[in-house]
Symmetry: C2
Subunit: 477 residues, 2 copies
């Protein structure tokens, strides 16, 4: 029986980083992937979706050009999907070699293109072959959760796995779910020319974000012609004269039904735990996924789980981060815990919503005392010159000493702008440190300094100012 330091199940974002990192350190690593290398991220997730969003933004930019005084432009109208799909595939083709069997074999990883199944806490069966692992890492990801709405299966629907392969732009599209995937793809299809309706059960879309961030996004979506139905639910689907009719139970302002050509199901994710033989290794599973401790260890000491299948945060960069934690915990003597406090994420709509740490809602719910410092992009000169200031803002939550508890940015470039705040938060730099760092003018990044300045202004008390005023008076004698 072949013996490995690490047997990795799943060649997506998490598994690939474990495999490459382990091999790079000199460990013997096996990697089993039954479907496509690169996982959801490369094949059905971030990469195709961000490429789709970019193409859709291009249409939007053509339409917006006249705002900047540009003449002789016309609305290009509804788009063919095939050339857009070609652009998406070209992006995937550019990135694919990085995740390929060839590259990983070259790194010294033994890659098995087959399903893997645990047979004991240290043994995995891959295509009839038995592998022994000092440690086994499960990184099998997740898939779209399909709600049990009557008629949905019969009517047919798309998920993130099929939507990037369609051949025709649907004239109309209903998106079930107002989470990040739903709003991103919904906005993109609307920009390409579909009539899009987002149906969301929660009080507002992107329900994990603060209401003011969600409100800014909702306003943007509606301005672009997207119908957003909050507090609404599809209760049944049936075919009516060639279209899919969604019966909707919602608030007073929601329509009773919507007829569409296509449905995108983006209503949460299901962890891929089936057929892995987890029971043979004593690995416990909950509805959210494989149960792990803060060190990514499952209930079976030699088995670890990371990324979507562990159900905590469903982000590529979280899987990649956990992969590094796993490398520490399996290949070095001292184990470490995941840092849950300094994880950023971004919803890649236009505007983007970027977050790290606490939102106002979560801090209040947790009873954490905090001050909020909020800055509008309408006072950031670059945002004004770029015409990207309306409805965009940044806010930071801090304790009395200016330590950052969380931050939210709403702006077309929010995801990039947040990085400075994440670095500051992670490494204990307080708001005065942002204030006393020079930021180039005119850049959007000055928003970081503006947040620091907003904090600093609160430090000058009335008492101090009145004492200073007396000193200055004396100095003028």
């Amino acid at each position: 029986m072949q013996k490995y330091n690490l047997v990795v199940i799943g060649g997506g974002s998490g598994g690939l980083v474990v495999a490459a990192g382990g091999a790079g350190l000199g460990a013997r690593v096996a990697l089993a992937e039954k479907h496509k290398m690169g996982g959801d991220c490369l094949n059905y997730g971030c990469v195709p979706s961000k490429s789709l969003l970019r193409a859709a933004k291009a249409v939007h930019q053509v339409r917006a050009a006249s705002r900047f005084g540009i003449q002789n432009t016309t609305d290009p109208g509804p788009q063919d999907f095939l050339p857009v799909r070609d652009y998406i595939r070209a992006s995937q083709a550019h990135i694919a070699p990085h995740d390929s069997v060839e590259r990983f074999s070259g790194l010294g990883v033994e890659v098995f293109q087959a399903a893997a199944r645990l047979v004991s806490p240290h043994e995995v069966d891959v295509d009839g072959k038995r592998l022994w692992g000092r440690h086994i890492v499960v990184a099998t990801g997740s898939r779209a959760r399909v709600p049990s709405t009557p008629g949905l299966l019969e009517a047919g629907f798309l998920t993130n796995e099929s939507i990037f392969s369609i051949e025709q732009l649907p004239g109309s599209l209903a998106v079930l779910g107002g989470g990040p995937i739903g709003v991103e793809i919904g906005q993109a299809f609307a920009r390409l020319g579909s009539k899009v309706t987002i149906v969301s059960r929660t009080p507002h879309i992107v329900p994990k974000e603060d209401p003011d961030a969600a409100q800014a996004l909702t306003r943007s979506l509606r301005n672009e012609g997207v119908t957003v139905l909050d507090r609404s639910e599809v209760i049944s689907v049936r075919l009516v004269s060639g279209k899919k009719r969604l019966e909707i139970a919602g608030t007073g302002s929601s329509p009773s039904h919507v007829d569409v050509e296509e449905i995108l199901v983006a209503a949460g994710r299901t962890p891929n735990v089936e057929g892995l033989g987890l029971e043979n290794a004593g690995v416990a599973v909950s509805a959210k996924g494989i149960q792990t401790d803060r060190r990514c260890r499952t209930t079976s000491p030699s088995v670890w789980a990371i990324g979507d299948v562990a159900g905590e945060f469903l982000f590529t960069h979280w899987a990649g981060y956990q992969a590094r934690v796993i490398l520490r915990n399996t290949l070095f003597p001292l184990t470490v815990e995941c840092d849950y406090e300094n994880l950023p994420w971004t919803t890649f709509t236009d505007p983007e919503i970027a977050r790290v740490g606490h939102s106002e809602t979560s801090a209040s719910k947790a009873g954490i005392p905090h001050d909020v410092f909020r800055v509008e992009f309408s006072s950031n000169d670059r945002a004004v010159c770029d015409g990207e200031h309306e409805g965009s803002f940044a806010k930071v939550l801090a304790d009395r000493k200016g330590r950052i508890l969380g931050a939210t940015i709403v702006h077309p470039h929010a995801g990039d702008l947040l990085a400075e705040l994440v670095l500051a938060k992670k490494h204990g730099l307080r708001l005065p440190a942002l204030s006393n760092t020079v930021h180039a003018y005119p850049t959007l990044s000055e928003i970081g300094r503006a947040l620091g300045d907003a904090y600093m202004r609160t430090r000058l008390t009335a008492g101090t100012k009145s004492r200073l005023t007396k000193v200055y008076q004396w100095l003028r004698r």
Copy 2:
């Protein structure tokens, strides 16, 4: 005679921050501005130029849409300048109230809309009125330096003060000078439809940046149809059949002359020191501008100078930073020095070039030992999805311990992306800190982590790896 803690001469970026800050702290402040509040930045600099660049980018985006699979778009052709000028003026109008007499009067600053002249180290004459200042701050800025090229004055030319007020897009434009102002405006006019020729004496444009950064920009400009003539000089100008003919002395590949409709002079800046009565206060002036020490103090102890007129770095944010230093040094007991090491700047071309600290050239010239870690945006997934990866890169210079000595980023969003590195450099966070901070996927900001990772990879020596390999072998028994 009215007595003030601060008499500020010049209502541009530097002077306004001193005035607002001083008044906010309770000091009595006078501000004299003889022309327009907001100075060059608002009226003839950053604000109109970034708005112009944005409009020009809009044309570029229309042309680029087909790259992303978008159909039914057409090149809008050469643009009328008047609607673009309207866009520029709208941006200025949005920002102007922030710099207005009304706002500053409201803050408690006594604003004099007149020329000011030093009559002694503590006295200023404003429109016949005598003001006494405990401290006097000179912040009068700079203007375009006009070379003494034969025929230039007679032929007529534009500078940053006049180019935003023209009424017609010139069919052809020669830009004298390959510095930031010249390349930014040159690219913008080319995108709007002018045939642009940039004539630069230096070995490459943006001469303060590394050759590889300049090369990436030069390639971009040439791809967009801009003629870039390095190591070339205009030796005379004359009118030939209604056009301005520039005789050029250059390298073998340069043409002997270029005929254009308009000339933009962007060949350096001249400090505004005339008529200020500096001699009456014993303030020494060099060719670069008013001489100051690292505390912004001139040769006259009660007189200070900041921003362009002091000639060190000609950036709005440097003036704003020095304004804060001045507030410390004039209104608090302990004085501080300017921090020259952590000043970022950006050339706002497409791609942008952003810099902090040492470039490779400057570090080598200064004999500072350094390692260079370079990452291409072609391995940043977001840049690939956005189609903005070709020719873009980031590099960081670090010492053996990973302390950041400098960084350069070349990318359409370089200015914003640099902020994280500036914060790290300023506050002593080393490259491992960038590596162990989670960056959201897929954002451009991951370039920061990638630079950290590039450093980390060099820390795993062959000896360590071979010892680890033996341990892992033993663990597989």
